[in-house]
């Protein structure tokens, strides 16, 4: 587990350094993800302990957004003043983006690829 965490941190660090040096419009961890993706494709398989550690982390991904979400407290006044317009914009635009993306991908997918078994 320690080796897996060390590997994730090293990749994040490498991604961050490359972005600092090149000025790419991406956060370091996203570049770290791309580097790891290419490495895993080249390697062919993912080591089982690494798979287990990353799975545990990703299963609880939602928790990691809570502290940033609480940051709404610093903008309560601005948000409260226009809360109707803001919430309609966020809900409608968010729903539209999800529906459009989902159906464009669904329609363009070869019929044989579509998996309908899942609940």
């Amino acid at each position: 587990m320690i080796a897996s965490i060390a590997a994730l941190l090293v990749l994040q660090l490498v991604g961050t350094i490359i972005i600092r040096l090149t000025g790419l419009p991406l956060p370091g961890p996203v570049l770290g993800m791309l580097i790891l993706f290419v490495f895993l494709l080249w390697r062919g398989t993912t080591p089982a302990p690494f798979e287990a550690t990353t799975r545990g982390l990703l299963r609880n991904l939602a928790l990691l957004f809570v502290p940033a979400g609480v940051g709404i407290i610093t903008h309560l006044h601005a948000v409260a003043e226009q809360w109707v317009a803001l919430s309609i914009t966020i809900m409608a635009s968010g729903a539209l983006a999800i529906v459009v993306t989902g159906f464009v991908l669904h329609w363009l997918m070869p019929a044989a690829e579509r998996d309908t078994d899942e609940a």
């Binding site: 990691l64 809570v66 983006a97 363009l108 579509r114």
Partner: protein, 239 residues
Amino acid sequence: MHSITQIWVYLAEQPLLWLTVTVGVYWLCQQLYRAGGEFPLLNPVLISVTILVVLLAATGTPYQEYFDGAQFISFLLGPATVALAVPLAGEAATLKRLWLPITVALTVGSLTAILSALGIGWMLGLKGQMLLSMLPKSVTTPIAMGISDQIGGIPSLTAVFVILTGIAGAAIGIPLLQSLGLRDPVAKGFALGVGSHGIGTARAFEHSDKAGAFSGLAMGLNGALTAILVPLIVWLFGL
């Protein structure tokens, strides 16, 4: 009474207090969500944030003091983002077959997210920095804040819109797509990642590993594309 005050003063200075409260509240909200049959409005991020905001307000704790403790949780977002490569590598074969549909869906979806925020927000009377801060709402916080800064928005306000968009998408995305008859885990996951970034991806992983893998991919790709599209759209519309 005196000693309780002393303990509180001591604990309030430690990162331990708000770190523990955040994890504890989230755990309780997760139990509630499961007990409530995963009802969308019981989304654990939504309820946790609400409870924590009330707790901070009730105890008069400044956000910065809260974040000094809770930042250890936020920090894990970096390694977790790197970890998204693992499920994605497992789906490499599907990715290779579907690269063209994925590219088109990403482009159309990304434009929909930005232009609908602009159009709907403008019609409802959002103006100036409020409207600008809304445009990058569908991408992951660090990218969105960078874009907001670049186009003259307020980065910390953008962070709030990003989290709210994520919560909304995570809550309504899957029920909405399924009620419209879309059942494929790749399309559902990818749509959640484009529309509601990491929080949507977290929800997609609860749904299935396959949906989660494509949601993580969508989140990364849409972050990069939005960073290019938003400044271009701001320039085109003369905002």
